[in-house]
């Protein structure tokens, strides 16, 4: 396994170094927030998730040991779990047993293209959304994304294919994608 680029930083955070705390926030907050925004489709909720993620980081920093996962993978998993808690609370949770075909209803009239993409992403199954967000927006490799989702790379590829097909279908219905 390759070296973890965050290992030294998190050790310093664990030791209570204020400069390391600032560096960690500057380095990770944009990634955590963008992940949460795209998973939840709600900026305010995403900010709450980002704050909760950092509370967990502060709590675990002094005892954090690299096991099988990198620190970045670990915080992505924490963020995703917090997002799932909120999705569950919103009753949007869809289990793997349920069909992951997107809702065929056309998207509501959205103001611009970005909003249509955002809404299309919110329409597909959460697991597919997760896979797409990790690979496209968080720029994780297939191995890192699979590790974060705790699935095989084959399963990741399958989630991505189904997710993209679902997005194409939704956007085509909406006239955004041909």
């Amino acid at each position: 396994m390759s070296a973890d680029p965050d290992e030294e930083l998190i050790r310093r955070v664990g030791a209570g170094d204020p400069a390391a705390v600032q560096t960690l926030v500057a380095r990770k907050l944009p990634r955590i927030l963008s992940l949460a925004v795209r998973m939840l489709g709600d900026a305010a909720e995403a900010e709450d998730v980002a704050q909760e993620t950092f509370v967990r980081i502060w709590r675990h920093a002094s005892s954090w040991r690299r096991g099988n996962a990198r620190f970045d993978t670990w915080i992505h998993r924490v963020t995703l779990n917090l997002c799932y808690d909120r999705l569950r609370r919103r009753r949007e949770w869809v289990t793997d047993d349920l069909p992951d075909v997107a809702d065929p209803a056309p998207l509501p009239d959205a103001g611009d293209e970005t909003q249509r993409i955002e809404q299309a992403l919110q329409t597909i199954a959460p697991r597919q959304r997760e896979a797409i967000v990790l690979v496209y927006y968080q720029e994780m490799s297939n191995i890192e994304a699979a590790a974060t989702l705790e699935i095989s790379v084959d399963a990741l590829e399958s989630l991505l294919s189904r997710g993209r097909r679902a997005l194409q279908m939704i956007l085509a219905k909406d006239g955004v994608h041909d």
């Binding site: 926030v25 907050l29 900010e47 704050q51 509370v55 970005t114 992403l121 297939n142 590829e157 993209r164």
Partner: protein, 150 residues
């Protein structure tokens, strides 16, 4: 999958299409083990057509940008970190105090034990009264005899 094959698998249109369908048209997102073969295949006519099609959805996905974190959020998270650090420092002092108190108590017990072991047993000055004793002396049979001899 591809990651398990060291030299990378042979690329054909079917596999190329499957990769494009999953990872999009940008080979930088593709599995590293298959990237070189995929990039070579991408220059073919079929490869170009598949990449073009996948690229349309990529362009749409790229257009979805998220606002960077606000200064207020940075500030709030840093204040949270400060609070946590202060709390942890207090806890550390509390444990340190508890540890010192424990050491002090252990020392006191050890000292007391040592004194008890080393100091010789003092003779008891405690006078045990028996049935014949009075405040003026022994009122037993010998005392009675003494009175008679007077």
């Amino acid at each position: 999958m591809a990651e398990d094959i060291e030299d990378g698998p042979a690329m054909d249109a079917k596999r190329f299409a499957a990769l494009a369908e999953a990872f999009g048209g940008d080979p930088r997102r593709w599995p590293q083990a298959e990237r070189a073969a995929a990039e070579a295949f991408a220059s073919s006519e079929t490869g170009q057509a598949i990449s073009r099609h996948a690229g349309k959805l990529d362009a749409l996905l790229d257009s979805y940008r998220v606002r960077p974190p606000s200064k207020a959020l940075y500030g709030s998270i840093l204040r949270g970190a400060d609070r946590h650090l202060v709390q942890r420092r207090r806890q550390r002092f509390w444990w340190l105090g508890l540890g010192l108190a424990g050491i002090g108590l252990a020392g006191a017990i050890a000292g007391l034990t040592l004194v008890t072991v080393v100091t010789p047993e003092a003779q008891s000055e405690h006078y045990v009264l028996d049935a014949n004793a009075t405040a003026f002396g022994d009122a037993g049979p010998e005392a009675e005899n003494g009175e008679e001899s007077l």
